[in-house]
Structures are given as C-alpha cells and as structure tokens.
Symmetry: C2
C-alpha cells in the first residue's frame, strides 16, 4: 500500500463494510457481483478504491473487511494485491444490517487490541478528494480519542432525498487535540423533497455518510447499553468459526437506528471531500466529466444530437444514439437498460421483476467468476453450449464428472493439464481433447500464464447442476 | 402461390424492384442485407410479402424480380418457395435507379410477350388491405389496356414530408371497361411541412406510391421518346449475359423524373389500401398495434412507465426500459440503436459515419448469410475466433485452404462429410475434427437435415480473406 509509516496511527483499524447487495447499478451489478466489486469509477473496483484510499493512514494488516460468505473468493481475489491478511476477512453467513457487522468486527479486533480505534467505511462509496478525506479522518480519530462516537457529516451539495440527514447542535470550542466538533441533535430518515430543500439550505443539517470512527472500547460500551442482546451474542465469539453458530439468532438492525440515535456521546466532524454513496445510475452521471452537451459517452458509441445522455457499456457492441434527452444506457452482453435519468431509482423494480420470474439476469453475468478463474457462456442452444473458460495460473477446477453431457475442449492459449479417467496429459495451445459423458476429469493450469479454452458441451441437459465433484480446492464453489 | 386461375390476367406480369440499399432500418438492415430481405412486419420478409400478395393475380412464372447481383443468393433462397423461375431474376451489376431497372425488365419481358402488361412494384413496401390492393391493381390493369401509363395514387393520411405527391387534373367519365381514372397535372418532389399540410388537406393531391401498371409496348414507346439513349442501350440486350456489357454505360435516372413527368398519357388510379413505404423506424411504429400507453414492445423486454416506446430486437438479450418517451430501440447482437422517434430519419447519418470509418456494422450482420447456409461469429479475440457454421441440406462449401489458421470443428447437430487432404470421412454429431494450417479441406452436408458445427479457429491472422478456393459450387461467394 505504499505506506508512509509516519502518518500511520498505530491504534487505528479500518473496518470496511462490503456485504451490500444493492441492485441499483443493474445490469452492471448483479446479485452475485454487487456494486462494491465492480469498476464504476476509475480503474479499480469501488472496494479497491476504498482500500487504496487508506494508504498512508492504516497499514494493510489493520484493514478488516466484512462481507457475505458467498463473496469470499471474489473478495479474496480483489484484495490480493493489498496484502491484507486472509484472517482479516470476516464472513457473514447472511446480511444482518450494519450493527451486527460492525459489532462482529469490533469484537474480533478488540480481542487483538483493546485500545484500537475503528474507522468504519462502506466499501462502495465515491470520494473525490483523498487528501481532504484523510484530513477529516485524522480529525475524527482525534475526536474518537476523546471517547466520542464520531460520525463524518457531509455538507449537502443539493436537496437530495436519497440520503439520511443529521441535525447538529452546537460547535465545540477547540479541544486540547486542536480540533472542533459538532454535537448532534438528531438523526433524520431520508426526507421528502420539501424537507430536503429545507435541510440543504440550513447549515445545521449534514448528510449521514455512514462513515464512523470510535474507540473499540467506547463502541462496546454503547453496544452493551443500547443492544444488550447483540452484545451478549457477540461475546460468545472467540474465533471466525464461532460466527456461523450465533449468526442465525442475530436480529438485523442498523448502527444508526440501534446505537447512534440513542447515544449521548455522538460528535460530528464536518467533511467536504466530494462524496457520493453511488446510490443509482444518475448519481454516477452527476460526478463524471461531461462533454459540451452534458453527455457522458464511453468508448464505442456514436451519437447524433443527444443531451444529458450517459452511455455505459460492458459489451463490445456498437451503440448508436439519436436525439435523446436525459437518458442513461447501460449495456452488458445479456441485458440492456435504457432509462430516463430522472427515474434511475426504479431500476430496483426491474430487478424485483426479474427475481419474481426466476430469471438469471439479476443474479449473474454471462461471465461467471469462480475461485479458479471464470467462464463465459457464448451460446446456449438446444443440444449444445459454448463457453470460454479461463483458468488462472496454478489453479485447477474440481475433479468432476457429468451425467448428461460430453465436453470438447480446444486450448486457445496457455497449456492445460487434463485428468481424464485414469490418465493425465498436457494439452498444448491449438490442441483439443474430448471428455465423454460420465468420465471423471479435471482441468488444471500448471503454468504461470493464464490458460484459456473453448468448451463445446453437447448433450440433452446442459445446466451447471449436472456435476458431481470428487475433489475440490475450493470448498464453496469449485 | 395458391393461384385462383380465374382471377389471373393472362397478359399481366409483375416486375418487383428489389435492388434497394436503404439504410434507414439500420441496424436491422445492413448494406449486404437490405430492407426488402428482412422480416419487419409479419413472418416473412418484405419481398416475400410482396410476392405473396400477388397470389391469385399473377402466376409465379410471370413474376420478375430485379436486384443487385450481390443479392443473388439471398434472393434465390427467399423466392425458392414461390417457384419463380431462376430465369426471372434479373441482376444489375450496379444500381442505376428505377428507369433502367424497369426498362431492362420491360425489354426482356417484351421479347417473351409483346402484349404483356407490367405491374411494377417496389419489394419493400407495406400494404395492409390485400383485397383492396388487388382491386386497385385490377382497375389499373384495365386502365393500362387503354394505353395509359398508370400510377397508383395513395390518398394522404397525414401531411407527410417523406413522400412525393401527384396533383391530379380531372376525373374521367366511366370508360368502356367500367372504371374511372384521374388525369395527372404534375408530379411534385417531397414537400416542406407547410406544403405537405396544404397538399394533404386538398383532395387533388395523392402520394406517389412508386407502383405502376402499363402495357410493355406503351412503356417502350414512352421510353424511346423520353430517354432515347437508354432505349437504344437496352435494345442491345438479347439475353441476361448482355446486361453486364451495357450496364456501365447507363446513366442513373428515376422513372418518375425520366418518363412520367414528360408523358402525356398518365392516368392515376386512386388507392386506399393502407400503405407505407416503410421509410424509417417511426413509419413502422405507426402501423403496428400499440398497448394502452402507445408502446410497441417485442418479446423479451420489461418496461416501467414508458410512453410511445418501441422495442425491436433481433438479439436474445433482455431489454429493460424505464420512463422513456417516444424512443425507438432496435437491438442486434453487434449494434444497438436508441433513437428519438421524431429523429428516426437521422439513422442514415449513423450509417454514413460507420461507412467513413470503415466499420463493419453498417455492412453485415454477425450472422453472415452464404449460398450454402450461414455463419455467426460468436467471439473474435487475439489468437482465436469462434463461429457457429450452419450448412443447409445437400450443400457444401468450397474446397479451400488457409495459410494462417487452423480450424477445430465440433459437429453439434447433423452429420458432416469432411474432405481433409486426400481423405474423406464422415463426422457424426458430438465428434470433432482438426484441420491444420495449409491443408485443403471441404465441409459438406450430405444429409437432408441441417448440419451445425462449432468452429474454433486458431492462428495469428483470422480474417475471411485468408482463403484459397480450389473448387466452388457458388461462383460468387462460396
């Protein structure tokens, strides 16, 4: 992380909340590939942006990330380059909102270091000015030393109805640590437009960013006081393995509603670093640079005379647009969204619709990520299916067999080590191999460069569930 | 064609003009697959609709079709079921507008039958009421017997600026053949909106449909009088083979401008059968049935609250739309159009843009039709390309070789007869075969069911022009 050790607060730990299942960036985000793991702004995923932003402030071994267990391999892959210890990944069997997630992280960090200060950060926010962000965090850390639950408040840039608001009381005098904070009068839910206009015009209101800083000891005291059941349940956890035992009993509740609203020692540190929770496509459009006509047009597109148009694409198709106004287009290989910019919130209705109909487009992309690499379904027809399968260096799929399909593999780059029945052979680039129905097989990349094969499946039934696994390097989904 | 012989006029011939290169239905239409050959309304292509509409009026052997020679195989395939003799297909080496095309047809039909009456019909129009259409044609045929150049005039349904207009003079008394016609005062180019409003409110103006009826002898007299050069050039043509010799010399000119505007014996038969020249996406939208919100939404789409929306798709992707107004979406596997309904004419600008940049999306679809079947490029990457190749029963590709690529073929349905080097073998479904670089090979479907193979090409250069052909059943593009 290119750490400047002088700046690192030795007691500071980051807790990154990466369990979100947000559907509002569909079709780019999917249930099994939510917003925090996809690249929306810049060249890395929102999670990676969030981690990188901490560089120089918190060392990698003090960064904890909590997510749903189904995202484990994706998370692991994404954080590999940051050298965050695998033990710092906390896996929730199911989402229980923010209080249990933060509580669990606090519990496990407290066992390491009773003097820890926690910086709680959502994994999927956008922050423009990183220097100002760090400066605000440093103030918040100082404030937390004075035993406050510190919340970062964002000065409203517009009358947004998409954020919760915080009403402040008074500003403190300059403390012994040379900073000032605001007392908090109350937390407010997402307002009506009328109220949002009133709040955003009034200097006593801030947006609730969901970013918090506190000493673990102070948080635990407040947790015990406000949510004693959750506190007792978390007290039973000694190791990662204990999580799944107590998790089913835990009641979902947000940290705002469960703790912050009841606490007498809240402080707000004002922040003005250019922030968005990226709650929908239009919020993304707002923060990207636009051409003269207010358009944001990515890559392979051609437009005639549109205004306020956004074209985002993850497909390699040409997109041509003519005379549109305030339209957002988000294109992927299997699903296209064309949306009035002012109705972007309704994307969640589309996702609900797909869910009800047992479709797949809300769930996964055509390219399905796996712990060993990925596969992309190119064509699915009666009697055959064509996939491109990519296997990362030194990874291998499970030893498996299929009852209803045969597979033809053509190696198009790299070299495959193929177990077929009782034999093992190497299949070079531009060679092919056939796996008959019922035969045990295993595909492995023995080399240090990626392996890519084209797989043609033939048979009467070609779904993923026709698989028997005998050995697997990845116990969840190999 | 299910002919009712009693209704067939023995001297009547149809001349279907199928050489159009219209770009306004892009991305559904492409330069090599123009509008007349694609299915836009109903279950058959516009050309097939045009032919089927003549059933009971003209026998198949009297239907002539003139098109560009590059469309020959596509045309042949499309008209196969109508039993139109191959000799009735006239191929233009290049488009020269309507007068030479009609003149050529007239010349060749005249040689068969000096007493022929020609019904000239564009291949790509929409006609709603076929009974009325036939009734208008019968009147026009009677009128042509009286030595008129007959034009079918459409009563304007709206002040369209997209059509030419015809101003009539007076109505004739009832003739001996028991019909009435209008004399024509003048032909008018596509008008301004102001003039279009004036014309459409005035009963003396009709739309120029481009549908004509005349005796071949009368047409030839008028051709000789108005376009003597063209007349002389066409006189040199004795057989199909002569066309390519004289064609380069021929000047392009429309039959309206070259003949109709100068002739003293024009008659107009009014027609009111529900007509559109399908000049653009919005004209298609106008004639399709709409839901309560004025939307036309095809197949696999989901909408939240749009109005006046049209979704047309030739891809198998899900299309989700939210809150759009008067938007046309036309989706294909390699190109998407999202267009303000009121700007649909500008699609031609997109096509021009693509042409200038030497793209492919204006030229061909991902599925490329060939005389022997078709192929679809599923993926084109560095070092490999994946295609689905479909070979029609009893057809075969050329005997060929490639200098820079090897090919892996997996048969997924049907059975292939494969020539490889000096050997011939049959490859059954779920078997594969490898064609090394440089080896002469031929793929054939020996059976009466379609053959489908998945082809994985590997090599450093994978363009279509790496092909050497040794034998070919189709001299144009096998």
């Amino acid at each position: 992380m290119g750490l400047k050790q002088s700046l690192v607060d030795k007691q500071a730990y980051a807790v990154i909340l990466a369990g979100g299942v947000g559907s509002r960036f569909w079709p780019f985000s999917r249930e099994l590939e939510p917003k925090q793991f996809i690249t929306i702004v810049g060249k890395e995923s929102l999670l990676q942006n969030t981690i990188r932003r901490l560089s120089g402030l918190i060392s990698a071994k003090k960064v904890y990330i909590i997510t749903n267990k189904s995202y484990f391999y994706e998370l692991k892959k994404q954080i590999e380059k940051f050298k965050i210890p695998e033990n710092n990944i906390l896996l929730e069997p199911e989402g229980k909102n923010t209080a249990p997630a933060i509580g669990l992280s606090a519990r496990l960090i407290e066992k390491q270091n009773k003097d820890a200060t926690l910086i709680v950060l959502p994994a999927d926010h956008y922050i423009k000015d990183i220097a100002r962000f760090k400066s605000a965090l440093r103030q918040a850390i100082l404030c937390a030393q004075d035993n406050f639950l510190v919340t970062l408040g964002i000065r409203p840039g517009k009358p947004s109805t998409g954020y919760g608001y915080i009403k402040i009381g008074h500003q403190s005098p300059v403390t012994s640590h040379q900073y000032r904070y605001y007392t908090v009068e109350k937390f407010l839910e997402k307002p009506s437009l009328k109220n949002a206009k009133r709040y955003s015009a009034d200097k006593r209101y801030f947006w609730n960013s969901g970013m918090f800083v506190w000493k673990v000891s102070v948080f635990m005291e407040e947790l015990k006081r406000s949510l004693p059941d959750l506190y007792s349940q978390l007290s039973l956890i000694q190791t990662h393995e204990d999580i799944s035992k107590i998790w089913p009993e835990i009641k979902p509740i947000s940290v705002d509603y469960g703790i912050m609203e009841h606490s007498k020692r809240i402080a707000l540190i004002p922040a003005d670093f250019g922030w968005s929770d990226l709650g929908s496509w239009d919020s993304l459009q707002e923060l990207l640079p636009k051409d003269k006509k207010g358009n944001v047009i990515q890559s392979d597109s051609v437009d005639c005379g549109s205004q306020g148009l956004c074209v985002f694409t993850k497909s390699n198709r040409l997109i041509a647009t003519i005379g549109l106004k305030d339209v957002i287009i988000a294109d992927t290989p299997d699903a296209l969204l064309v949306c009035n910019k002012h109705k972007a919130q309704e994307v969640k209705n589309i996702v609900e619709y797909l869910k009800k109909r047992n479709r797949k487009e809300h769930l996964v992309h055509l390219t399905d990520k796996r712990p060993w690499g990925s596969f992309t379904v190119l064509q699915s027809s009666d009697g055959f299916k064509i996939k491109i399968v990519e296997i990362e260096p030194k990874k291998r799929l499970s030893l498996q067999s299929h009852q209803k399909r045969a597979e033809h593999w053509v190696v198009v780059s790299g070299r495959a080590k193929v177990t077929r029945g009782n034999t093992v052979r190497f299949v070079e680039s531009n060679e092919s191999i056939y796996i008959p129905i019922g035969v045990k097989h295993r595909l492995e990349n023995p080399d240090t460069v990626p392996l890519k094969i084209v797989e043609v499946q033939t048979g009467s039934y070609l779904e993923e569930d026709d698989i028997q696994r005998y050995e697997d390097d990845f116990n969840l989904r190999g």
